[in-house]
């Protein structure tokens, strides 16, 4: 509808999950909630509203403004399922693997810190006992 319009560009870019992951830390005003997720959602809502404001101020009539906003909605609607699926898929796979690592970590720790040291401690005792019994049996035979 309007090439280069800040809102439409921003909305079209939302489907790109390959962007760099570096972040900026924004300080909310004093007294704002400390819930970072809620603040981030509020901030995004305000950001897109400001981008919409910038885009719409260039458009003279409400029909064209509505058309731009509907175009943005269409882009959002087509991007959302793929993004949600990707997020769900990656998060659940990561969670499952992390769970496996935790469970297996307990078994590894059990072997490393308890089972192997215990066996390594008992084997020399058994060997000493075998030697002592052999000596006693040899002696009894003589």
């Amino acid at each position: 509808v309007i090439p280069g319009a800040p809102l439409l560009d921003a909305v079209a870019a939302l489907g790109d999950a390959t962007i760099p992951d570096d972040t900026v830390g924004l300080a909310p005003p004093v007294g704002a909630t400390s819930d970072v997720d809620a603040l981030r959602f509020r901030l995004f809502a305000g950001m897109f509203d400001l981008l919409a404001g910038k885009t719409l101020e260039e458009i003279p009539d409400n029909v064209a403004r509505e058309a731009v906003l509907r175009a943005a909605l269409t882009t959002i609607g087509s991007t959302e399922p793929a993004l949600r699926y990707a997020l769900h898929d990656r998060s659940s796979r990561a969670e499952q693997l992390e769970l496996v690592v935790r469970m297996r970590g307990r078994q590894i720790a059990m072997s490393d810190r308890w089972l192997i040291p215990r066996l390594e401690e008992e084997i020399p005792l058994y060997e000493d006992r075998v030697s002592a019994l052999n000596r006693a049996i040899e002696g009894a035979r003589r």
Binding site: P6, A10, V11, A13, L14, D16, A17, D21, D22, T23, V24, G25, A27, P28, P29, V36, R40, F41, R42, L43, F44, A45, G46, M47, F48, D49, L50, L51, G53, N62, E66, L69, A72, L73, I76, T79, L83, L87, R90, A94, L97, V100, V101, R104, Q107, I108, I116, L119, E120, E122, L125, Y126, R129, V130, A132, L133, N134, I137, A140, R141
Partner: protein, 175 residues
């Protein structure tokens, strides 16, 4: 003080649209607008002929809210991009360590302990047969305090090739 991490790419897009405004006032302005958006009716305004100013305003808030949801998903996806590869690497490492323990380290120790325990019992029986009292021969073993590995059998590990051969052999016999 609470900091809200935002992807630089997202923030730069807003800054480009509003040049000359510093981060702090721009952030405050975005949060104020965000409050207004979130206080508005969350349902999608219907198309109804030529839109009024109010209808455009409602639609604008609706778009901002939907875009914000999407931006949150994208933020999560990008900011935690390394989580899955990190989990995969940790799983692989733990699998290899577990396999090493269960295949190469624990079985030889258990088999050695099992063989020695059997040998002790055999020698104790032999000593009794010769009229000796095994309990009088030191060092003694406090059996209840030891690991009972007498029934231990070494686990069998098969390669994928071995497994394939076994399956093929199984179906060949069925024919």
């Amino acid at each position: 003080m609470t900091q809200v991490p935002i992807l630089r790419a997202d923030w730069d897009r807003l800054r480009a649209a509003y040049p000359g405004i510093d981060d702090h006032p721009l952030c405050r302005r975005a949060l104020e607008r965000g409050d207004e958006v979130l206080a508005s009716d969350p349902s999608e305004p219907a198309r109804d002929g030529d839109p009024t100013v109010e209808q455009v305003r409602q639609l604008r808030s609706f778009v901002a809210r939907r875009a914000a949801s999407l931006a949150v998903y994208r933020h999560e996806l990008v900011a935690h991009r390394e989580r899955l590869p990190r989990a995969e690497a940790a799983e692989r490492a733990s699998y290899e360590r577990h396999l090493e323990l269960e295949k190469d380290l624990v079985p030889p120790l258990k088999l050695r302990a099992k063989a020695l325990r059997a040998e002790i019992r055999r020698l104790e029986a032999q000593a009794r047969h010769l009229g000796l009292d095994p309990e009088a021969i030191a060092p003694r073993i406090d059996w209840p305090e030891t690991l009972a590995v007498d029934g231990y059998e070494q686990p069998r590990y098969e390669t994928n090739e071995q497994r394939k051969r076994t399956a093929v052999e199984f179906f060949r016999r069925l024919r």
